[in-house]
């Protein structure tokens, strides 16, 4: 089963390798200046040569991301349950929730800096602001789509509101919740980097800025590579937890396929 699972990613792997080879050849044959587009091998070398510095900055960014994701998950879950609690709550909160996502954070960035300063706090806040929305919306949709027959059954047995939530609706909403979480995980690292761009002493965002201002394009790409790997790892971790938490769901998917 494991082999088949790995083989499932074969086409993606082949495509990635082909693209990297084309990239490497294009840079080599076309004599592209490494300041405009460095070759993949040069980027990996740059990453290895500057690993201690990049690691320092990566840990900072990763901490911001992870804390922000935890905050976003808690806030997202609570909001989803509140949205689901009553029709009145849904009508009151949902429009505000959507409006909150239309505010360009880039416009709020200066205020964030002036209010909260240069510490880790505002970066965690930016990550949470970016990430809670997909979690809340997906989870709320999952809660709302509980099977009507099951609800009828529970009601006939005089189950309380909380029992219905705990026994049927929340477990039923978990697949949607994890979809939301995966989307949030993909964005979260970029959100942390954006938070650092606003003003910070350290982090991948700052490293990107320093290297760009010193014309070190290879190191800029090395930092981008780290960002991509971090995002993929977080995405993978969420998928792993989903597999552990919802074996019946994945079993069902595998059977239907």
């Amino acid at each position: 089963m494991k082999l088949r699972w790995i083989a499932g990613y074969g086409p993606a792997f082949v495509l990635a390798v082909v693209l990297l080879v084309i990239w490497q050849l294009y840079v080599g044959v076309g004599h592209i200046s490494p300041r405009l587009l460095p070759a993949p091998i040069a980027i990996v070398q740059g990453l290895i040569n500057n690993w201690s510095v990049i690691y320092d900055n990566t840990i900072q960014t990763l901490l911001e991301t992870v804390l922000g994701m935890v905050a976003a998950t808690v806030v997202g879950l609570v909001l989803a349950i509140m949205l689901d609690a009553s029709n009145w709550m849904r009508r009151a909160i949902y429009p505000l929730l959507i409006a909150s996502q239309t505010i360009p954070i880039i416009a709020l960035a200066p205020l964030l800096l002036i209010w909260f300063g240069y510490d880790i706090g505002p970066k965690v806040l930016v990550v949470a602001l970016y990430s809670f929305f997909p979690i809340a919306v997906a989870c709320a949709d999952g809660l709302a789509s509980a099977e009507p027959e099951l609800m009828k059954l529970l009601r006939s047995m005089r189950a309380t509101r909380w029992q219905m939530l705990w026994l049927v609706r929340l477990p039923g909403a978990m697949p949607s919740f994890f979809s939301g979480l995966r989307i949030a995980a993909t964005y979260s690292v970029t959100a942390a980097i954006f938070g650092e761009y606003v003003g910070a002493a350290k982090g991948l965002g700052i490293y990107l800025q320093l290297e760009a201002n010193s014309f070190a394009t290879i190191q800029v790409f090395a930092a981008i590579l780290v960002t991509a790997i971090l995002s993929l790892l977080l995405f993978g971790l969420v998928s792993l937890i989903e597999r552990i938490a919802l074996p019946w769901y994945h079993g069902a998917i595998a059977r239907t396929m």
């Binding site: 840990i59 901490l63 200066p110 002036i114 240069y118 003003g199 700052i206 320093l210 014309f215």
Partner: protein
Amino acid sequence: MNRRTRLLLSIGIPVLLVIVVAGAFLWQQHAAGSGVKQSQPVSGTLEPQCTALTKSGTPSTQNLTSMSLALDWTPNTNHTGIYVALAQHWYQVEGIDLRLLPYSASVSPDVLVSTGKADVGVSSTEGIVADAAVGQPVVSIAAIIQHNTSALVTLASSGLTRPRDLDGKIYGAFGAPYETAVVSEIIKHDGGTGQFNSVTLDVDAMQALESHRIDFAWVFEGWEVIQAQREGYKLNVFPIINYGIPDYYTPNLITSPTEIQQKPELLRKFMLATACGYEYARAHPKESAQMLLDQNANGTFPDPGLVFASQNFLSPRYADPGRKWGLQDASAWHGYPQFMLNSNGVDDASGKPIHSLNLDALYTNQFLPWGS
């Protein structure tokens, strides 16, 4: 796996992740704290005003007044004097615990200084004039570089060998309201019509130039032009002050009028340490560039050679021979700012261009150790 293990694992894995990351973070902070590089003490003769700074052994770190300085860009050779004073503990000798606020792409030092979030900052003549026009006044307390070192550049291979060739070409702009007026004036001064196309870039103008997306850009000789030389490609360089633009100070050290009223003594002490740092950097490019490198985290300067080359260029330009660092003249503060005002380059808070300002209120030499 039963239900309980599954629940435990689903909660345990994220908790474990947070603990591991937080642990790595704390461990690394612990490790970083013990690795601060020590710079060599200064040698050679110093200005008479500065000798007192070096006499008193290791200064106490207690009872210091904390002070913050907002940087205008990632650390570079414009900031060397500040880093020299930090490396030599001169701020501590003066009773100041100086914190540097890192550069922010979205909040200018001018805003931080005028809202009181920073005591002093690094800004430019353009910024100070624009601030005064919108009623957010800041005051220049020193000129960091006495002459303007910016220039329009083209690739040597482009065949654009003088400013008048730039008519109808593409300019890579950085989005300031005054730059069209300046570029147009330079072209006209050389006999062109001053008509050109511009695209506003948020990327390195030199990259855009090298990839032929733009024909010319406005950059600093002490950084971008030196970098181009190091990479071995040729540029045509038109220093703006050679083509009819009045010379001006940039960058400048700024503070707010409130700060001047409330903490003049602190500013005087800050300026003594800073001015001595820049005077040392004028005479010792190599040693001061080394201090700039040592005082910043690893990775700040991927190419130390660029820092040394840039410092060699800038050190003699911090001030002319025989003149003390930081001093500002009325003529410079009336020349370029008035040019900006005349060319509709300055808007008030409602966005309407204004044509006069009290330019003498924009600068003061009173905090420099050598008086006005």
